[in-house]
């Protein structure tokens, strides 16, 4: 007896749906529980980032970058200021660089905690999500201590920082890391090695390396496919070349290389590496150095363009900035990593069951604010 094909039904997942992580509409064709084709519709959160940037001065762009990826604002700031400093040829002192790295890595921990937690939530595991949110809250407390804001920081400025580290920050961070390190093992045991979780994620949504590269997938999603590619190692910016850390890649421990479980596990391992980086950066942090030292009075980059990439928690964050010599950007384009990650969804998730499609979507860790900009 052959397989009986029923009539296909068109189903709209979203714009308001618990599993779409924001406002995303997936138009799917379903045959019973099997989803044969996924068409994402974007733009529900489009806030004209690039158009806005053409009308504000260079320093006023930074708060807009915060609002793109609201879960990793620090790294968004970081990417922009690195691009601007390359364009303007500014060399900032080491204290600024180390503080930036500390912030970016703490932000990476916070972002990955949320990503893995929400992934668990998509599969119905509520408790790990809240445990991870609890620890993310402590990182946000550290950020609040530094710059007063808890979500949108506007902390890194072109050529410097908005504030120096407050008194007691280093101690508070070390205390947090001491508390946090054993918790990572707890998360791994609670979620990663849970039998049901493994059943739901291993061998699901396999993304081979060639597909990942061809679709421009970057960051943890690419590394989970077994490609050793991390801009912090392969194209070091800031002071990453002076820090010692590993790049975790997917090994297919529970299933095939590049499955959803690998994407989860790579993120968890990256949290460990980030903890290592923060510790080293705190060790090497220079005692003196003015964070406003190399900030230009007026930001007016020379004519020219730059495409600069940094490693955000979601992947290669690119800024293409064209300057015409005035104090507003002529054109500013953000290459958002989550945008390309969502683009691969139809390729790797078509043909799976509905529950799997939402699990795969969760494992890609998308942020709609960054996709729609």
């Amino acid at each position: 007896m052959g397989v009986v094909h029923g009539q296909e039904m068109v189903l709209n997942i979203g714009p308001q749906h618990p599993a779409t992580h924001g406002v995303l509409r997936l138009q799917v064709k379903t045959d019973g529980e099997v989803i044969s084709e996924i068409t994402p519709y974007l733009g529900y959160l489009h806030r004209c980032f690039e158009k806005h940037c053409e009308n504000v001065s260079y320093e006023q762009v930074i708060p807009f970058t915060d609002r793109c990826d609201y879960l990793a604002s620090m790294t968004m700031n970081f990417g922009y200021v690195v691009a601007m400093e390359q364009l303007m040829d500014i060399k900032v002192n080491d204290r600024v660089e180390y503080i930036r790295v500390i912030m970016a890595e703490l932000q990476r921990i916070a972002s990955h905690l949320l990503a893995t937690g929400v992934f668990g939530l998509d599969l119905g595991a509520f408790t790990p999500f809240l445990h991870m949110l609890r620890d993310r809250e402590r990182i946000i407390d550290l950020f609040e201590m530094t710059c007063g804001a808890r979500l949108l920081y506007n902390y890194m400025w072109v050529g410097g920082l908005s504030h120096d580290l407050p008194k007691g920050f280093v101690e508070a961070t070390l205390k947090f890391l001491d508390y946090f390190e054993p918790k990572i093992d707890e998360f791994e045991n609670l979620l990663g090695h849970n039998k049901i979780f493994v059943e739901r994620t291993a061998d699901i949504g396999i993304m081979p390396a060639e597909v990942a590269i061809n679709y421009g997938v970057t960051g943890p999603n690419l590394r989970a496919s077994g490609v050793n590619w991390d801009l912090r190692k392969d194209n070091p910016y800031s002071v990453y070349s002076k820090l010692d850390f590993n790049v975790p890649i997917g090994k297919g421990i529970k299933g095939t290389v590049g499955d959803s479980w690998d994407r989860f596990y790579v993120r968890l391992q990256e949290i460990r590496e980030s903890v290592k980086i923060v510790r080293q950066a705190i060790d090497q942090l220079p005692k003196d150095g003015d964070v406003h030292q190399s900030m230009p009075k007026k930001i007016r980059p020379p004519k020219g363009s730059i495409y600069s990439r940094t490693e955000s928690p979601r992947g290669d964050l690119g800024y293409y900035i064209e300057s015409d010599g005035s104090d507003t950007p002529y054109r500013l384009k953000m290459r958002s990593p989550a945008f390309t990650a969502l683009g691969v969804l139809n390729e790797i998730a078509g043909g799976w069951l509905m529950s799997d499609v939402l699990a795969i979507l969760g494992s890609l860790d998308i942020v709609l604010g960054e996709i729609d900009r």
Binding site: L42, G43, K91, N214, Y307, G318, Y320, E347
Partner: protein, 231 residues
């Protein structure tokens, strides 16, 4: 420029050519540093020309890294000029390759598949309004194997903005080109699914063009105008 500064730059460039990057980055004064970098680029270009003259075919021996991107761009421009004669638009620049749109699809295939170039990853596609009735599409390519990257620019007229689509070469270009189409109205011929992506399907105009004007109303809703100053 005073003579001691010039001497400083010459010395730094010499060191940088020998592989010591900190020599230039260590210069405190910004202006001097940028001048030194420019001098370094010039020196490298001359060096590569010399290499080209010395050995006709085997100029690829040198291990390419992202540091000598100017060298790679010149090298690839030369390869393209040999392979697809007349594809380069205008003169050869040191930090990007300006191509004519006609053969872009074949060139992109070549760039992706040729073992010497092997640009397997399209990093970014940026639409651009140059003013004077010209639109541009810029592609940042990167090779995961050779770890080198180039920028390719393709200029088209605003009245007839057709550029061949590379969506079937790099799948990531699918959404990138849709976004560029959405914002600039560049028509990527051969794209299988060229729709607006971020804006609604029935939106009027191309918002990131410099001459864009907001529509008066959208579905009966008055579109707010840009306010002059703060109220």
């Amino acid at each position: 420029m005073s003579e001691d500064l010039q001497a400083l730059i010459d010395e730094a460039v010499k060191k940088a050519l020998a592989g010591d990057d900190d020599a230039i980055n260590g210069i405190q004064d910004r202006v001097t540093r940028s001048k030194a970098k420019a001098a370094l680029v010039k020196a490298k270009r001359e060096q590569s020309k010399a290499v080209d003259e010395n050995s006709d075919s085997e100029s690829i021996e040198e291990q390419p890294t992202t540091d000598n991107s100017e060298y790679i761009i010149l090298k690839i421009a030369k390869i393209l000029e040999d392979k697809f004669s007349g594809c380069i638009d205008g003169e050869v620049h040191s930090d990007f390759i300006q191509l004519k749109p006609e053969k872009w699809f074949e060139i992109s295939k070549f760039l992706k598949e040729d073992p010497d170039t092997y640009f397997d990853s399209l990093q970014c596609n940026t639409g651009f309004d140059l003013g004077d009735g010209l639109l541009e599409s810029r592609y940042n390519l990167h090779s995961m194997k050779h770890l080198h990257s180039i920028e390719i620019r393709i200029k088209v007229n605003i009245d007839n903005p057709d550029i061949p689509s590379v969506e079937s070469v790099w799948r990531v270009a699918d959404w990138f080109e849709r976004e560029t189409y959405d914002m600039f109205g560049i028509n990527f011929t051969g794209h299988r699914d060229l729709r607006r992506i971020l804006l609604p399907e029935d939106w009027d105009g191309w918002p990131l063009r410099k001459d864009y004007e907001e529509q008066e109303t959208y579905h009966g809703i008055v579109v707010p105008k840009v306010k002059e100053g703060w109220e």
